[in-house]
Every structure is written in C-alpha cells, then in structure tokens.
Amino acid sequence: MNGIVSGFLLVSALGLPLLLAFPPLHRRLPWPVHIALLPAIALVFIPVDLCIELPWFLLGTGLGLDAGSRWWLAISVMMWGVIAIFLLPPNGRNVHHPLTSLFLLSLTGQMGAVLATDMVSFFALSTLMGYACIGLLLADADETIRRAGRIYLVLLILADIILFEAMVMAEAISEDLGFATLARVISLSNSLDLYLSIVLVGFAFKVGLWPLHIWLPLAYATARPATALMLWVGPVATGLLGVLRCLPLGEVSAPMPGGALLFLGAVTILYVIFFCFKRAQRRQQPAYFATIVTGSFVMGLGAGLSDPALWSGYGDLAPIFVFTMGLVLAIMIVSFEWSMAKGEISGANKVDRTLLESWFEAFVHWGRRAGIDTLPDFRALWLARRDGLRQKRIWQRAFDAGEYFLQRWSFALTLFLLLVIVTVVLLFLDAAAVL
C-alpha cells in the first residue's frame, strides 16, 4: 500500500461525504450516504496502519488510522449506514429538506473525528458533527425533538467552550496537540488536575452524563429509534472517543477524577434503569440501552483513570467493547424499525418551556426594554425632554442677546475704548513690573 493511495483513501473518507453534502451533487444519487461511506468501508478492511501529514490544514494536522480507531471507524460506518436506511427518504428528491445534507455533514464530522490525529482537528470535526446533528434534530417535525435539539445546542456550546480551554491549556503545556505524544506530556505536567477536570466536565456536557442528560429523554420521548441511535453514535460516542483520546489513560493515577467518573457512570446506568425503562415504550428501549452502554463505558474510563495498571490490562478492549455494543444496537434498531414500519409517529405535541429558555427570553426581553444606547440615545433622551429643549433655548437666547448688544454702535465703541484703556494700563503695569 503506497502513500498516495492511503492518503487518497483517508482524505476521501472525509471529502466524499463533504462533497456529497452539497445538494446539487447528491440530489440525483440513489443512495448518497452509502456511496459516501465507501472509502471508509475500504479503510476498515485494509489491515494496515495508515497515516498522512497535512501540515497546511488548520494548525497543521494529520489523518491516521490504527488498530484502536479501526474499531471506531467500523462501528461508525455500520451505524450510519443502518440509520441512513431508515432516516432518509430513499433518494433525496425532497429539494426543500436539508436532511441529507445535514446527515452527510454529520457523517463527515464523525469520520474526521475518528481519523483525526490531533486535538484541534478532532475538535473542529466533532463540532461540525455536533452542529449538523443538532440541525437534524431541529429539522424534525416533532416539537419535542426540536426542543431537545435546542437544549443540546446550548450544552454543546458550553462543552465546546470548556473543551476549547482544555485545548488551549494542553497546547500551552505541550506545544503539540498530536494525540501520539499528548498523553505522556500532559501526565508530566503539574497542572494535570486542572486539565483533567476541564476535559471531564467538557465531555460530560457532550455525552449527556447524569446531571446533564436532560435533552436525551426529551429526544427519546418521541423520536424514532433510528434518530435516537444517531444521537448516540454521533455526539455521544464521539464524545467518548474524545475522552479516550484526551485523557492520559494508563499514564497517571488520578483517583479523584476517576472516582467521579465511576460515580457518574453508575448513576447514569441506575437512572436509566429505574426511571426510564419503567416508563419507556418498547421502541425507546434501544436508546436507553445505548445510554447504559455510555454509562458502563464511563465507569470503565473511571476505573482506568484511577488505576493505570488496570487500563493497560483492558484498555485495548475498549474499542472492541464499543464495537460489540454498537453491533447489538444496530441489530436492535433494524428489528425495531422493521417491526414498527407501519407504526405511527406521534404528532407534534405542545410542551412547556424549559427553565433555561424562559430565562433567556426574559433576559432578552428586559434587555430590549432597558437598552439605552450609551451616548447618542442618552443625548436623544435628554433633548427629547422638554426641559432639555428649554435649557437649550435659554443658551441660544443668551448668545443671540449677547450678539445683539455687541452689534449696538454705542455699546461696541464703548467696549473699544475700554480696550484702549486696558491696553495702555497693561503696558504700564508690565513696564512697572520690569522696573
């Protein structure tokens, strides 16, 4: 396998979906998503580690594929392929619908996140994926899902900002954001704890761990299983991949963050089991199963973080675990979707505003009412007041009156004589001062 072919494959795994996302290009294709997946499928089945450098791209980056990420690539290909079958209209005839484009954009982001070899490109592409997924949610007919999309949007923005800080910090520490060296350098730094907590909080926002999970039940409540799974394989699984990449697993022993992760993972699992499964309809079960997978993966991470030895034991199995679970999920979706192919999708129902939304709206509302431009509007306010106007008129009158007096012959000439006298007096005084 020579460099050119591998480079071509790697780039086209990203580039083809991106290209096809352009509406005129995919509009006439029968299965655009699956065509877009072809290079990625090829990559999955080539059993060699590939890598290319792209020094001109972003801050200088590369794309690569090794054993671990091959599993992630495999599951991505599989899941997206399956979801696309159910989620998209067969050949994208619907011109006025962004679904296919958004889907392909998320796909691009996902592939890129998997293949990225450094933090910046990972961040860039996963953000692309995140926003595109939100677009998919927002484009849904169901108001509840759109709401979920909006909430997730807020969380995603916060997550991105927090991860941005983590990234800046990582670069300040290591000067190089390549995943290959990042973990080692970070583990030697003395601001490790800060870094770990920022990364973990950031990804917690992204993957919907327990206290930040609100959008998931909302989305799951009325979504089709395929949509729900897309949410899992998209934002959530990518988030997990990100944690895996960014944490110095196996290098450090950090019991505190590790313990926190264990706890959060456990709570998430328990929450799903006790609060969701009980009420869930059958078709929501794959989604909740996916959340349990997340929880257990997070627990595994927590364990690995607190004990490096443990991680070196089973760390390599993590992708395989995720792949297996993904396979199970895919099968579940297929069966569920088929079984309810004739089932009805519940109509849009009116839902109350969430607290966040109402706060935001109130804030904007009051801001608009209170919004006085600093200088010009203050001035306008001033002038608009009658007092202000009268004040101005008094000044004007004073000036007019002054000029009127100055123009009077006798007054003006008297002033003139005064000036002569003052001049002579001044000259005398100056002379006296000199003497």
């Binding site: 100055l406 002033l415 000036l419 002569v420 006298i421 001049t423 002579v424 000259l427 005398f428 002379a431």
Partner: protein, 499 residues
C-alpha cells in the same frame, strides 16, 4: 515657483545667468507691483468699455510680477527700495521680505480668482464701477504690504478702506448701504486712532521708517500710548472680538466677489500691519498685552463659531466664520515663537483662499436660488455640485482637517502652544475646529438631503463655479505642498531666529 529651503544653493545659479534672468533680476518688481494695478485702475476708469479685459489682464500681470519679486527675493534675500532715490529717513522706502511676499502672493492669487469670478458676476453698469475700484484696492493692498513707512501705511490703509466701502456700496439696497456707511465710519475711526499713535511715535523717535524705529525705540509713556492707540485702531479694523460688530453685516451684504475680497484680503491688511509692528517695533511690549490679545482671539474663535452656528443665512454664517477664524491669528501673540508666527501666517494664507472660495460658493448659491436661507438649501445645492464641492473643500480647511492649509496652520500653532507650555491656546484651537465642523456640516449636509425642487433655479455661469472650485483646490494643495510657502516665509527671516 520653487523656493529651495537652503540659502546657499543659489550661488551656482548666479554663474550662468541668462538674459531673461538678468531682466528678472533688474526690474524693480516692488514698484511695478504697486504702480501696475493703480495704472490699470485708471485705465479701467478711462475706458469702461474694455474694463473687464483690462482688469483680467492686470490681475494676470500682477501675478507674474509677484513671481518676479519672488524670484528676486529668492536670489538676493530681502529687498529694500527707496522711491525716487530718496532713502529713509527723509524719503519713503519700500521693503519686501518673506512676510510681505506671502501677503502679496496671496493677494495676487485670490485677486486673480476674484477678477475671473467678477468678470461673469457683474452686469455692465456695475462692472464699470467695480473694475477701477477693485484695481485701486489691489494697488492699495500691494502698497500696504510693501511699505516700510508707518505713515505710508496709514495712507494705503485709508485708500484700502475707502475703496472697500465703495465696493460694499455697489450692492444696492438699504442693507448694503447701511453696512457700508457703518463700515466707513469704523474704518475712518480706526485709521485715526492709528494715525494718532503714529504721531506719538514720530514725536518720540523722529522717524517713520519701521527699520529705523526698530533700532531707536525704547520704553516711554508716549510709546505705550502709541502702542495702545495703534493696536486698538488696527484691532478694530481687523474685527477682533468684541469689535467684530461691523463685519458680518458688511461682508454679508456686499456682492459676492466683494465679500470674498473683504474677508480674504482686506481684514488681513490691518492684521499684517499689526504683525509687522509687533515683530519690529513692539518687542518692548510686555507679555500681558500679548495675553490679552490671545484672550480676545480665543473669545473670537468661540463666539464667532457659536454665532455662525446660530445663523439662518448662508452668507452671515460664512461672515461669522471669518470672525472666528480671525481669532486664530491672535493666538500666535501670546505664544510669540517663530513657529507660532508661521502658523498664524499660514492660517491667514489658507483662510484667505478658503474664505474667498466659500464666499464665491455662497454667491453662486444666492445667484442660483435667489436666497441663501440655510434651511431651504437642499433644492439648490443639488443643482450646483461644483459649487458645493468648492464649499466643502474650503470647509475642510476652515475646520482645520487634513489635507488642507488650515490643518498645517493648526499643527504649527498647536505645536507652539504645547512647546511653550501654554496648552490652553491649543485647546481653544481644537474647540474652534469642532465648532467649525459643526457649522460647515450644517451646510454640507444639505447636499445629501433629497428634496423636491421647489422653484426655478437660475443658471450660474460655469466660470463662477470653476473659480470657486479652483481656489478651494488651491487650499487643499496648500495642505500637501506646505514646504514651499513655509520656505517663502523664511526669506529675510521676518520672525527672528530659526526655531
């Protein structure tokens, strides 16, 4: 004209004098400059049918004489010429240095503009009166700028005043006549104050020649009285606040070219005398008087600016702007450094050109629309793009924004005020600029208002529009090629040392 800054460069030029240059060097341009317009004026008076072409020709000739004088000064430095071979103290001397040259040059330049403008402005009957008067005034101006005799200055001042009054009275109507009358009385009064001062000076030192007086003068009560009288008389004529009361009416009611003439040149003449005396004879004067002048100048800047803002008629606005701008000239007195004088002189120069352009533009607007109410300008101004361009460009200089002569002047004055530690004069300078911007844009903003044409506009001759524009462009060029005029001022170093 090209005036290299260094004085030593002319040596090699002298080696290869061409006949042409010989003539240039030999002709007594100083005298020609005075006699030419006077003769021209007489000729216009005698042959009214060709007065227009005679006038234009004379203006052109005057400009070329100034060029000749400039060449002479550049070659030989400051020039002194004894009329009829009778030198001072008994005879009358003419003297030209950088200061005079700049004044004569600006008078010639603006004068040419005014001549061109007037050649289209006046109808036959008025033109017959205008041309002789205007050429006499031109001669008086040149004589004034080139005299070195304080009594001769009185005579030229009177000649200037009388012709100016007659020109104001050219516009019929009670308003013009009233302001002409008032202007005449003020002029006479100012001149008499000046003359009384001259009498005291002569009595004390027995000479009328500025250079001789400069050597002999020493403090005494008679001198102080003379300084007081002379300054007061000249300040009255320069219309320094609060003695500006006669100016707006006279300048606003006169015909447009005459307004331009008065604002640009005539008020500057008395300022020139004051400046000349201050530099040569008055160094004995203490600082308080200079501070008083600065104070009055600042008051003029602010008061004139505010009054200009309050006006409802365009010509009055421009006239009050003159009051305000004249105030700047007096800020140089308390600063009293070489760059301050240069700044004031530059201000004078650019104000002369800019204000002439502005009054011409105002005249065009008046001619086109039949009125000059600022509130109703929109419909007229859009039909006179050239005129309004001229007004705006001149306005840039009035505001003191770059690139314009006004900016250079402001820069120099500001530099002087900071260097001498008297920053408050600089503050006045900046405040005056803000006020100027306010009143200039009050007019200019009408260009952009979309208004329906309410009444018929009369045609304005293209020559009148172009003259205003060319003068306005000159003032912009003064802001870009400042080194020439500045080098010109240096000839004979009228402001003392280099710094």
């Amino acid at each position: 004209m090209n005036f290299p800054t260094g004085a030593g460069t002319d040596h090699c030029k002298r080696m290869k004098l061409l006949p042409m240059e010989l003539i240039l060097g030999e002709v007594p341009w100083i005298v020609v400059l005075i006699i030419l317009p006077l003769t021209g004026g007489m000729a216009c008076f005698l042959f009214p049918t060709i007065s227009k072409s005679l006038g234009l020709l004379t203006s052109l000739a005057v400009i070329s004489c100034v060029w000749g004088l400039g060449w002479q000064l550049e070659e030989d430095g400051a020039q002194r010429y004894a009329i009829g071979g009778w030198g001072a103290p008994l005879g009358i001397d003419l003297y030209a240095d950088g200061l005079s040259l700049v004044m004569v040059a600006v008078a010639a330049l603006v004068g040419l503009g005014i001549s061109v403008y007037s050649s289209s402005y006046f109808r036959r009957d008025k033109a017959n009166h205008f041309w002789p008067l205007w050429l006499f005034l031109c001669g008086a101006l040149n004589a004034l700028f080139l005299s070195s005799d304080i009594f001769n200055l009185y005579v030229t001042l009177e000649l200037l005043g009388l012709t100016a009054v007659a020109l104001v009275a050219l516009a019929d109507g009670s308003e013009a006549l009233t302001s002409a009358m008032r202007y005449l009385l003020i002029n006479l009064m100012g001149s008499l104050f000046y003359l009384l001062g001259v009498a005291f000076l002569y009595h004390s030192f027995g000479s009328l020649d500025i250079a001789i007086l400069a050597q002999r003068v020493e403090p005494s009560p008679a001198v102080w009285a003379a300084v007081g009288l002379i300054s007061a008389g000249l300040l009255l004529k320069t219309a320094l606040f609060p003695m500006h009361f006669w100016l707006p009416a006279a300048h606003a009611s006169a015909p447009a070219p005459v307004s331009a003439l008065l604002s640009a040149l005539v008020v500057k003449a008395s300022f020139y005398i004051l400046l000349r005396m201050w530099l040569e004879i008055f160094p004995i004067v203490g600082i308080s008087f200079a501070q008083l002048l600065g104070l009055l100048g600042s008051a003029a800047v602010l008061w004139g600016g505010i009054q200009a803002l309050r006006q409802t008629r365009l010509k009055l606005l421009v006239a009050y702007s003159t009051v305000s701008q004249l105030g700047y000239l007096f800020l140089a007195f308390p600063l009293g450094m070489s760059i301050a004088w240069k700044g004031a002189l530059y201000m004078l120069l650019s104000h002369a050109v800019a204000k002439a352009a502005m009054f011409m533009a105002a005249g065009n607007i008046l001619a086109a629309g039949g009125h000059d109410r600022i509130a109703d300008l929109s419909s007229i101004t859009q039909r006179l793009p050239l005129t309004l361009t001229a007004f705006s460009l001149a306005g840039i200089s009035i505001m003191g924004l770059p690139p314009s002569g006004g900016f250079i002047a402001k820069w120099l004055l500001l530099e002087a005020s900071i260097q001498s530690g008297q920053w408050w004069w600089g503050a006045i300078l900046l405040l005056g600029g803000l006020l100027a911007a306010a009143y200039v844009f009050r007019v200019v903003s009408h260009v952009f208002t979309q208004a329906e044409a309410t009444h018929e506009a009369r045609e304005v001759p293209a020559r009148m529009e172009w003259t205003a524009l060319v003068l306005a462009l000159v003032v912009i060029f003064l802001g870009v090629f400042a080194s020439w005029p500045l080098a010109m001022m240096e000839i004979g170093s009228p402001f003392g040392g280099g710094s």
